[in-house]
């Protein structure tokens, strides 16, 4: 992952972050909310190699830590998403190229979003945070996974195209 691509990916992620914070978070979704940002980040991470996924996980987590609406300690999202990036890249290698298997891509991203939130809750418990009742947490995790499953089918093809602009000719090969 080149520095320029890392910078460009960070820009894309910041764009999604702004949309998430200013628009998507205002929609009153049934069951629970949908994180466009997480969906986009996991989609980009799934297309990267191990190094790129870890780096992108950290960058994405760092941006998410900047969110004024979050109560968790600064760096928590960076830590979790770095770990997710690593786990993603490990499992991704066994699946193969996602651009040729869109359904697997969608399912992978949705599962990743669910896993991210579960790990976030576990880390919250370790850090002694109060995240509300187990039922509401379960609802949030399930709802977000469901909405990611529905919306990723619309979002991910565009994201793949957007990412292809950032690739160098060598990386394309």
């Amino acid at each position: 992952m080149s520095w320029s691509r890392a910078g460009f990916s960070a820009l894309i992620l910041f764009f999604f972050f702004v949309i998430q914070e200013s628009a998507i978070s205002k929609i009153d979704f049934p069951i629970s909310g949908f994180s466009l940002y997480l969906c986009a980040l996991l989609g980009l991470m799934a297309l990267e190699d191990r190094f790129g996924a870890i780096a992108l996980g950290f960058i994405g987590g760092f941006i998410l830590d900047l969110s004024p609406s979050t109560d968790s300690p600064f760096g928590k999202w960076a830590l979790i998403l770095t770990l997710i990036g690593y786990l993603f890249s490990r499992n991704r290698e066994s699946i193969g190229d996602f651009t040729e298997r869109p359904i697997a891509f969608i399912l992978f991203v949705s599962a990743g979003a669910t896993a991210t939130l579960i790990i976030f809750l576990i880390f919250g418990l370790i850090l002694g945070e109060n995240n509300g009742s187990a039922l509401s947490n379960l609802q949030t995790v399930f709802g977000n996974g469901l909405w990611t499953l529905l919306f990723s089918s619309i979002l991910l093809p565009g994201l793949v195209k957007l990412r292809s602009f950032t690739l160098t000719s060598r990386e394309r090969l």
């Binding site: 929609i27 049934p30 191990r50 004024p68 960076a78 830590l79 770095t82 890249s89």
Partner: protein, 314 residues
Amino acid sequence: MAAGGNNRSRLLLVILLVTSLFLITLDLRGVSITKNSRSATQTLLAPVQRGVSDLFSPVGNFFSDIKNFGNTKDQLKNLKKENAKLRKKVIFNKDIAGELKKLKNVLDLAGRGSYKVVSARVIGKGSSSTFSQTITIDAGSNDGVKKDMTVMGELGLVGVVKSATSTSAIVLLMSDPTFRIGVRIARSQSIGVLMGEGDNTYTLQLLDPSGSIEVDDVLLSLGSDNNKPFVPGLPVGYVKSVKNTSATLTQEANVKSYSNLSSLGIVSVIIKSTNGGPKDALIPRPTPTPTTTVYVTQQPTPEASPSESSKAKN
């Protein structure tokens, strides 16, 4: 190569995890840099959020609106029902207000005439097929209403009680063709007989051949023995036009009644009148007509200068 790449990735992973833990530690220790970064993001996002908020507000509640669609429908149904109820109430209140106004006027007139009255609501009107002009009121002998008592409205005479039961009474209206009442002209004190003609017009026949009638003369009831059937001094109507017939011995005039018999809501039955009656105290006072005064100030017109007038000539 792969092993080298893995090592690089592992190293990066360790570095980034340590960095993350370091950031968490800093935040938990209350270092202001981490706190400030969030407030800086807030400052950056605020204008965007404000702009998007206006644009996004209809979409924001889209899902909740769908979810609450059934509830909204029920709510709308309930509101419609409530609205219909309130409309009925408003109409009822308007009706009550109208009745109250009429009652106030009736009582006001009765008070000025020092009449003891029983007020009643008009609950029925005689069928036009009977050719008699009557109304039914909801006061009867239990309230002290008896046959041959004078009935008045907010502006004057309405009729006379024809018959009374314990709870209601039938009133013969002054417009009935059989209705006759002795009246006096307030201006000239000439006396005459007023006769109903079946509509809103009446004929006045003076008893004194030398008496004079003029247009807009006010007619007051003359009164009967023991105030039955008529009390004295009650406004009856005014002269609309004088009939010029040389063939008859007495003068006649067309009269218009003060009471509008087609819109009677509340009436009062005069149970007792003071001795001698109110004399001329109940003569309706003419309402002053407001006059509009217009002041016109003439604007001075500027005279044309000699140079301008010469230009005009050219």
